[in-house]
């Protein structure tokens, strides 16, 4: 599965000479407050070739996409189309220059029809320059059929499921007659069959001489369809070349800058008695029939493709989603959890995936974030005691080795990793029994990532039960004692020990 690299087809491709690049980035820099997302990166896309862009979460891949499509303006450097420098003020400028993209975040409109989602901004015009709906729906149908999607173009988008939405996003990118097609993790939410159809599509685009930028975390697909690669690490270009010349291990090493095995802490496993029992969790549209148990000191991994419903289930367990049914027992006692406040009282806490929106309150200072769920303890008769708040905050942020100018600094101004530490500190201060970490290392830098892993291991060692949701196979393999795989809202498998291999994980997650 990992090493299709040495196929005959590949060798043949490698032999072709380099044509002139259609699109190039030269020394492009992009900064956000506190983060240098791109520094002096170069990138070249050739006609008829697929270039894979790889790198860890937060390496700057999506930032490149947004810079190329006029959504972000680079702070320095140039974008060259056919060798001539260009500026894209808006996405429409980029489309006019022949650049189209499938963005990682779905760029779609719930209330509009499928056809309109595909053609918004460049709809076919009829008489007097008015939008021709019949023509638009016909073209949409054509494109959707072309990518093997069976979706009625007249249906409103909100009535579609996650995979079909993704197909609409792909159709949208293809509706622009472009020379450069960018795909930012296009297969993340697709099933096996749909992925195969996408590969065929990529082949046909190549055959038409288009330049393709393909972003993915899945090595098998990169080796299957890419001709070239470019690797980013922390916003910098660390390597590029032909796929034929590298192995998976080389790429991983470039990505992380050291050997993979070193990332994960060795930990002694002391698994204690059962703390959490979950039975029969059901939701009308998101998940069905979820049940499992969890012990003290255990790390339970939850794996699945993006959109498998893991976050939704965890939020139901935490009391956010009220439409779901199910039973939660803590230490053998039935616990009625109807809100996060109930969950916290029962010792269950949740570190959400969406840090900026759900995890931290970015416009409030660190200490207020940390003490928010613990105010009952730091206050007296309902009146705040700032000294006590600072004491508690200092205690837990020191344990996590937080880096910040002061405890009064707004969380929003911290780097992703430090924001995550604030969120974790917030929960540890409540002295929980079960901690749920949803994609705990998504979008944080290598150093913080290792710190989070180490800390997770330490928590387990101290007897906390840990649930870790992750879409990264190395992380799942490196950290979990046991893994539950979810697919389309249901448990597909529960794996441990020998069964726990990358192949079994992928097979159950994709339903092959």
């Amino acid at each position: 599965m990992l090493m299709h690299a040495e196929t005959a087809a590949h060798a043949a491709r490698a032999a072709a000479p380099d044509p002139a690049p259609i699109l190039a980035l030269a020394k492009v820099t992009k900064e956000f407050p506190g983060v240098k997302a791109l520094s002096d990166v170069d990138l070249r896309l050739y006609p008829g070739q697929v270039t894979a862009l790889i790198g860890e979460n937060g390496a700057g891949k999506s930032t490149v996409v947004k810079t190329l499509t006029g959504i972000y303006q680079p702070d320095g450097g140039e974008i060259l189309v056919d060798g001539a420098p260009r500026r894209f003020a808006t996405a429409q400028d980029a489309a006019a220059a022949g650049i189209t993209a499938i963005h990682q975040e779905t760029v779609l409109f719930d209330e509009l029809s499928v056809a309109e989602n595909i053609f918004l901004g460049h709809a076919p015009r009829g008489r007097f320059g008015l939008i021709d709906w019949a023509e638009m729906e016909r073209c949409a149908e054509e494109i959707l059929v072309g990518i093997g999607a069976q979706i009625d173009p007249k249906v409103r988008l909100r009535d579609l499921g996650i995979a079909n939405r993704h197909l609409v996003a792909i159709a949208r990118a293809l509706s622009i007659d472009a020379r450069v097609v960018i795909m930012d993790e296009p297969t993340a939410a697709l099933s096996h069959k749909e992925i195969e159809e996408l590969y065929e599509l990529v082949e046909s685009l190549k055959a038409k001489g288009k330049a393709i930028l393909f972003i993915s975390h899945k090595f098998d697909e990169i080796f299957r369809i890419a001709d070239r690669f470019t690797v980013f690490r922390d916003g910098q270009l660390v390597g590029d070349g032909r796929m034929a010349d590298v192995t998976e291990a080389d790429l991983v090493k470039m990505m992380v800058g050291r050997d993979v095995s070193q990332i994960f802490p060795n930990r002694e496993r002391r698994i204690g008695e059962e703390v959490l029992q979950v039975v029969g969790y059901d939701h009308p549209t998101e998940f069905a029939d979820i049940g499992f148990t969890l012990r003290r000191g255990e790390i339970l991994g939850f794996y699945g493709l993006v959109g498998a419903g893991r976050s939704e289930f965890m939020q139901a367990l935490f009391g956010i989603t009220k439409t779901s049914k199910g039973i939660t027992k803590i230490d053998g006692r039935l616990s009625a959890i109807r809100s996060p406040a109930d969950a916290i009282e029962n010792g269950i806490v949740y570190v959400p995936e969406d840090r900026g929106r759900q995890g931290a309150i970015t416009d409030l200072p660190i200490f207020q974030n940390v003490t928010l769920p613990s105010l009952k303890r730091t206050s007296k008769n309902g009146f705040l005691r700032l000294a006590e708040e600072f004491r508690l905050t200092r205690e837990y942020t020191t344990r996590l080795d937080l880096r910040a100018a002061s405890l009064d600094t707004n969380v929003g101004s911290l780097s992703g990793g430090n924001q995550q530490k604030v969120v974790i500190a917030k929960w540890l201060a409540t002295q929980p029994k079960v901690i749920i970490l949803d994609e705990p290392t998504k979008g944080i830098d290598i150093g913080s990532k290792a710190a989070v892993h180490e800390f997770m291991a330490e928590l387990a060692a101290q007897g906390l039960a840990v649930i870790m949701v992750s879409s990264e196979i190395p992380e799942i393999l490196g950290m979990s004692d046991r893994v539950i795989v979810m697919r389309e809202g249901r448990i597909a498998a529960e794996l441990a020990g020998e069964d726990l291999t990358p192949e079994t994980l992928v097979r159950h997650a994709a339903g092959i």
């Binding site: 006029g70 959504i71 996405a91 409109f109 709906w133 009535d159 079909n164 419903g309 939704e312 389309e488």
Partner: protein, 327 residues
Amino acid sequence: MLKRLLASREILLLGAIMALLALIATRFPGFVAPSNLAGVFNDTAPLILLAIGQMIVILTRCIDLSVAANLALTGMVVAMINVAAPGMPIGVILIVAILLGTLLGMVNGLLVWKLDIPPIVVTLGTMTIFRGIIFLISDGKWVNSHEMSAAFKALPRTELLGLPVLSWIAIAAVLIFALVMRRTTLGRAFYAVGGSPHSATYTGINVGRTQFWAFTISGALAGLTGYLWVSRYAVAYVDIAGGFELDVVAACVIGGVSIAGGIGSVAGALLGALFLGVIKNALPVVDISPFWQLAISGSAIIIAVAVNARANREKGRIILKSAEHAA
């Protein structure tokens, strides 16, 4: 398809209006006579015009509380122009009204777009400023019927094919904006910006500029209505259409326009306005004290927003295959 059509907000509201008319007809059959209904429509025409503009503004996640003040200011200016130059052709007056309204709308739009001030604050401020300006330019004096020229007063009431011009203007606005909203890039941009500003940016739509255009359209319609109002009621003073902005917002809400943006239609705004218009005109006829009117329209707003919220309840992401298309 038919099922979807039946369930749509507009059809629901149309049904409600029909039911209301039927109910009134049982007590006072004369109310549903075509001539009377035409009168009701004519009376509601200003509300329809403003509701269309407001609908577009709300669609882009903004709100325009200054429409009534804009109407009053424009109305006063054209009335004063008419007094000063009675001979000026009505065509010119009409253009001045639309231009001035547009300008005032642009002021709102610019403050929202360029300075990023929340729309409610902007229009709350301009609402009081516009009214104040009327006082300053008119010195608080009324412009009365006898000071206006006959031609000035004649336009909205001239009958064409049995309907007054005022009604025809409302009909034209409904048709034009139905076309604009469905068949032009700008019209679709309003929906996109309100539905998801983030995604709109990704598709190359400038969110602030689109909102600016929404305020501009709302202003233009308010200006047009300003002239029509003043000439129809043959009077201009500081307080005309005082508090009317809330009726306008109410018409939109009843018409299924979502205050959260992205949802709404010209048909909805039209029906919402008609709903209020029918109630307003029917109360005295069916001999319910006019003092009930406020409470009834308040209840209508609350019921409408509750019904619409039910229809729009966020379904979340549909992950289970069995759940897709089920609704």
